[in-house]
């Protein structure tokens, strides 16, 4: 087991290294340098050169790369070109917001997607099944920005039920402990703050979860149908097990295993896909931060945020593999 873990963790290194090289060169290939973008159209050459000097942009690329990597070894990701503050700090301040959104979206997607997928499979070809299939198809076909706008318009302005921007109301001051608005509200034992955080989460979570829930529902349905058609199910029924026992003990368990891999992969994707959602809902997360950094040619931030995303993706895959291993005895054996 330990060997397996160590093995996988070690494989993290070349992947991350490759990611680093790619993003470093990519960021530098993007035409236009950060000093220009920062200072805007009115700037003179003198002002730009002075800023470039200050930002060490005049050094050759290989030297910049080397100093960056040495910095990384010390846990220093450099400073943001725009704000001058340490990149690591900036990313970590915003990471909880993105995680909060992603985890809640994931939970919502699972809670909505799996039961629907299961029932859809059980009642295959019924009106429920057809309805579900259509809705989930529409769900994976809708551009996220369209859904976000429609929800905002409908729930935010026409009905006025839900807040349309931010992680918390600016008029509610909670002590920032973890950066997760829900948890901070709990720690502060402040019910209005908690409720406020919850309300703010609803719309962006729904937008982010829509695609994922639809994907999960489709996947679970197909997976269940496949599993249910297999011989061992017939055997179980023949043995006299009730319909529900068969479904839950045998059908669901097996199809869920495959679902976990998909969910894990999609979770990592979602971290990046949060960019559009975070922008439309003014959510103070890393996705939005990264997008602005690309616009501003803020190299250190682009590099740092990509590394963080890549690391999270690899770690998530690892977790998923471990989970899969624990649940599926056949794989568990292989890992030992």
């Amino acid at each position: 087991m330990v060997r397996f873990l160590v093995d996988r963790l070690l494989s993290l290194v070349p992947v991350l290294a490759l990611v680093l090289v790619v993003i470093f060169s990519l960021a530098r290939v993007i035409p236009g340098d950060p000093a220009v973008t920062l200072l805007g159209p009115g700037a003179t050459q003198e002002q730009i050169s002075a800023l470039r000097l200050q930002l060490h942009l005049d050094q050759p690329v290989t030297q910049q790369f080397l100093s960056y990597v040495t910095g990384l070894a010390h846990g220093d990701m450099g400073r943001s070109v725009k704000s001058g503050r340490p990149v690591f700090e900036e990313i970590m301040r915003r990471l909880p917001a993105t995680l909060e959104l992603s985890v809640m979206a994931m939970l919502m997607a699972i809670v909505v997607g799996i039961p629907i997928g299961v029932f859809s499979a059980i009642r295959a070809n019924s009106w429920f099944d057809h309805l579900v299939r259509v809705i989930s198809l529409v769900g994976v076909s809708t551009p996220a920005f369209l859904l976000a706008l429609i929800l905002q318009l409908f729930f935010g302005i026409y009905l006025g039920w839900l807040p349309i921007s931010g992680q918390t109301s600016p008029f509610i001051f909670t002590e920032r402990v973890t950066g997760f608005a829900l948890i901070d509200g709990l720690i502060a034992k402040d019910p209005p703050a908690l409720w406020d955080a919850f309300l703010h989460l609803l719309l962006p979570t729904t937008v982010l979860a829509a695609f994922l829930a639809a994907t999960i529902a489709r996947f679970v349905r197909n997976s269940m149908l496949e599993v249910m058609g297999q011989d061992f199910i017939r055997t179980a029924r023949a043995k006299g097990l009730s319909r529900y026992a068969v479904i839950f003990r045998h059908g669901l368990r097996n199809s869920l295993l495959a679902a976990i891999t998909v969910i894990g992969m999609k979770f990592a994707e979602m971290l990046g896909g949060a960019i559009l959602t975070e922008t439309v809902f003014a959510w103070p997360g890393v996705g939005r931060f990264m997008f602005e950094a690309i616009k501003n040619r803020d190299y250190p931030v682009i590099q740092g945020a990509t590394l963080v995303f890549a690391a999270m993706f690899v770690l998530t895959s690892l977790l998923v593999d471990l989970l899969y291993g624990r649940l599926d005895p056949r794989i568990r054996k292989k890992m030992q």
Binding site: P143, I150, V314
Partner: protein
Amino acid sequence: MDHLLYFLKRNTLASVGLLLLALLLLMVLGVPWFTEMSPVAVNMSQQLLPPSWMHPLGTDYFGRDVWVRVIYGGRYTLAIGAGVVMVAFLMGVSFGIVAGFVGGWVDTVIMRSVDALLSFPTLVLAIALGAAFGPSLTNAMLAVAITLAPQFARVARAQALAISVKPYVEAARCLGVSTPRILWHYVLRNGMGPLLVQASLALGSAILQTASLGFLGLGAQPPAPEWGADVSANLPYLRASAWVALSPGVAILLAVLSFNLLGDALADWFNPSKRHAP
């Protein structure tokens, strides 16, 4: 042919998908015969008109007919989808089958690179690439193709792995058939099924991603009627004249939907248990 008809009869969603797609193709390819209105002619006196008989979806900020713009935009969309998927397919599949068939360190290197590519948040990679090569439609398409290629590589590799151990491949090797020939005639031919499914699903994804890039301003340039770019260009008028921004958005939805339906249908078609009568 009978198989196909029987299949379609049993599978309503597949038929709907095919119908939708056919309709889309018809409208998009045949539009010059339906109307002479131009999608780019500016007419400031007809700004932001609500839907009417003359303009079924109203007009936009420049007085251009929205319906016509959406249809012409469909051409872009189909071209984008086809182009992106073709490039992604070629890139991904070539690397994938080589990795799966040859194995060893070639496999490891290729798959590690694929993994690295996969760990980039897709949109971020597309944005960075689009920004790197300059904001134009071709560059955005290239960017999306690069982000979609890994999926093809993975599927192709799995297929190659499965097929390379089949007896007929061994037989071919014994006969002295060259590796490229084996890859082409045996591996690719027989492994096509899942790849086609992946391709049609990727079409939907390609369109969504390119539309998102267009929405962010990194895709088609004005006055090109690309759907994503049109949604973002008309956002400022969303409250007063919602149809101008929503129409291209809904069009994206319908197009992607039809491709996803097609993908599902293909998946069912290639699944022997679903294709034939029980």
